[in-house]
Amino acid sequence: MPGLFGTLNLGARSLQTQQQGVEVSGHNLANASNAAYSRQRLEIHTSTPTPTSIGPAGTGADAGAITQLRDTLLDRQIQGEISITSFLQSGQTALQYAEAGVGEQLQGATGTGDVGSPGGLANDLSGLFNAFQDLSTTPSSMTSRQTVISQAQQLTTQFNQLDQRLGSINNQLNQSVQTDVASANQLLSDIAGLNQRIAGTEAGAGVANDLRDSRQQKLEALSQLANIQFSTDASGEASLSLGGQLLVSGGTVQDTLETYDSGTGQLLVRTSGAGSPLTPTGGSIAGTIDVRDGALQSLHGDLNTLATQIISQVNHVYRTGYDLNGNTGADLFTGTNASDIGVDAALASDASALQASGVAGAAGNNQVVLGLAQMANTAQASLGNQTFAQSYHGTITGLGTALASVNTQLADQESVQTMLQAQRNSVSGVSIDEEMTNLVMYQRAFQASAHLVSVVDQMLSLVVTLGQ
């Protein structure tokens, strides 16, 4: 029989246990709005019974452990989905920059005569060939010549600007890769630190619930950047790898990430120590690289191809023409691609130098400028047998298609992620009603144990005064 003192002890331990229960409920309530928190429970179990003459007698309750309600499978799934969502989001952002850079929109009422945006490349292209047509009716008109020259200048300026914008988007994306890699390295060291602390804490007693929550938060932040694989082995040692390369093992960072120039000025990612190139398939780093080296590069490439073709095809015909002063052989367009395409400087000051005529000395001859005008409808072999305008329209609507596809995929992906997060919330989220109920429960139990202590105390004082 435990005796009165044993029962007093039982009461005291019970008070502590219920107090711990209240503390855990308080902890849950305080973190109710913390999205990374998973609710904790106090495991109460009976303490070891003592043997008595009539059999084992219970000795009260003890707090066993504080456990967290968490579904690790859901956590892994969510990490994976976060990587995919982030991949699509960063791709979408990059494509949206490019769409804004290209700047083609259908504006205003139908029938204004513009192609796409009034200030866009498509309209400038159409304007140049219309100006050639106009000049072909009155080849010696200085006004028409001036119009051709300024349309050509507008077109070349637009090419230069587009090229610049795409180049600066490319630089922005490279910078964003660098920033992401730096953030990833910071997170790697944070996770290693947490691994160490978790291992240290759990070497003592219990589970480091809050540290694990923090670590899961960091893992999810890192999954946004790259699709990492995280695992714990049988001994509890945690390791983190990316693309098969071990980055964190236990409390030490085995390797970090760094960017390197692939040789074309574009940044790729590799491990710093071993120098092995990494090609992650999820996360914002991969998403940015995928769009930068995919859709954006082909957009920029197509733009350059178009500019190069325009320069060479137009000059090929233009060179054979004669200007009003009998000169021939000059080029209309200077430069080699979209970045440096320009108009012959001599034309800016002297419109009579425009070589519109097919023969010398005939100011009314329009053979060359007519040939240039007819080029608007000529299929160019090196542009996939499309006209200049068709090729450009195809290029920019290709960008539109890529963006539309990412938009759809992202919308679907976001709803999957939201569903999983709602499921996790259902398992791990704090419910105020539950915690209030538990609080009341522990409070009442505390009151009851306190009453037990006072009853035993009365009994003891009776016993003590028994001999008197």
């Binding site: 109710a32 709005s33 999205a35 494509l95 083609e104 929109q105 259908l106 205003g108 009422a109 139908t110 029938g111 513009d114 192609v115 796409g116 498509a122 159409s126 219309n130 047509q133 106009d134 072909s136 009716t137 009155t138 080849p139 008109s141 005529s357 023969v359 000395g361 005939a362 100011a363 009314g364 001859n365 329009n366 007519l370 007819q374 608007a376 409808n377 305008a389 068709q390 329209h393 920019i396 609507t397 290709g398 960008l399 539109g400 298609t401 963006l403 539309a404 709602a422 499921q423 919330n425 259902s426 398992v427 791990s428 989220g429 704090v430 419910s431 105020i432 009603d433 209030m436 009341v440």
Partner: protein
């Protein structure tokens, strides 16, 4: 499913975000009147619309070309009309200048013919918007230059133009030439107005011959060679005028066709890219209602934030 503390606020946030994005998109469509405005709204339709717009822009330019060519043709026609009057008068004089006329009358006729030649040269040096009308494509200098002797008689009229004619497109791959070169002596290419080696027209030279014969009083040559020659010249001028009339009719037809094409392209573009306002406004109204309902109910539930706590205290 167990509902935690964050479940409801998270779901309100995401619902409001979705509804407000939909609302924004529809509002944009209503304000611009366009179903598609960005490249990613409907890339396939965007491609079609851009290609049609390019076509539409080209058709507008062809119409401008047609207008320009019509102006040129009209100016040419009035100059040729004037030339026809001169030719008629010259023919009249050649008929009247027979053996019954006195030397003085013949001289008077000769002076009149000199004047007619000068008028003709002036007419043939008419300018249009692209320079001289009758010099072929050598439009920088006057096509005809008359040389006179000390007595004021014209000794020769030289042609400084060439034999080419400018052709411009009135539709894709459809070039039309409106110009008539003043002279064509090579036998190939567009027919010359004053001189053409194929049908023997040589108006100014025949007029000069008439002038000289009148001065010399040689009425036999006038009736035997000048009269028939001038008749050939007049035929040439008349046929050029008829040709001009045909071209103008052709241009007019082409313009109507282009106008129809332009209208039809506009309709097609509109069908593909313009928003059906009635439909869009209805959708917008529905979305706005849903958004307001979500706001109201969300706000009510969030502000009340009932939990056991309110009842325990």
């Amino acid at each position: 499913m167990r509902i935690a503390f964050n479940t409801f606020p998270d779901s309100v946030k995401s619902q409001l975000a979705t509804l407000s994005a939909q609302q924004n998109h529809l509002q944009n469509q209503v304000a611009t009147g366009k179903r598609i405005s960005q490249l990613d709204d409907d890339p396939a339709a965007m491609r079609r619309v851009l290609d049609w717009q390019t076509q539409g822009s080209q058709v507008s330019q062809y119409r401008k070309n047609i207008a320009s060519l019509q102006t040129e043709a009209t100016s040419s026609y009035s100059a040729m009309s004037g030339l026809q009057t001169i030719s008629a008068r010259a023919g009249e004089i050649a008929t009247l200048a027979d053996g019954t006329r006195s030397a003085q009358e013949l001289n008077t006729y000769a002076s009149e013919v000199t004047q007619l030649i000068q008028q003709g040269v002036q007419l043939m040096n008419s300018t249009g918007q692209g320079g001289y009308l009758f010099g072929g494509t050598a439009t920088a200098q006057p096509p005809f230059v008359a040389a006179t002797d000390a007595n004021g008689n014209i000794t020769g009229v030289t042609y400084q133009g060439n034999e080419a004619a400018l052709s411009a497109e009135i539709a894709a791959g459809a070039p039309v030439a409106v110009q008539v070169p003043g002279a064509n002596t090579s036998g190939s290419g567009p027919a010359g107005l004053i001189t053409d080696s194929r049908n023997g027209a040589d108006f100014f030279n025949h007029l000069i011959a008439l002038q000289n014969h009148l001065r010399a009083g040689d009425t036999n040559s006038i009736s035997s060679s000048d009269l028939p020659a001038l008749a050939k010249d007049e035929d040439n001028i008349t046929s050029q005028m008829a040709h001009n009339g045909l071209i103008q009719a052709h241009l007019s037809t082409a313009d109507s066709l282009a106008a129809t094409q332009s209208l039809s392209l506009k309709k097609t573009i509109s069908q593909d890219s313009d928003a059906d306002l009635a439909q869009t406004l209805t959708q917008l109204s529905t979305t706005q209602t849903a958004y307001l309902a979500a706001l109201q109910s969300g706000a009510k539930l969030l502000s009340q934030s009932q939990s056991l706590l309110s009842y325990l205290a």
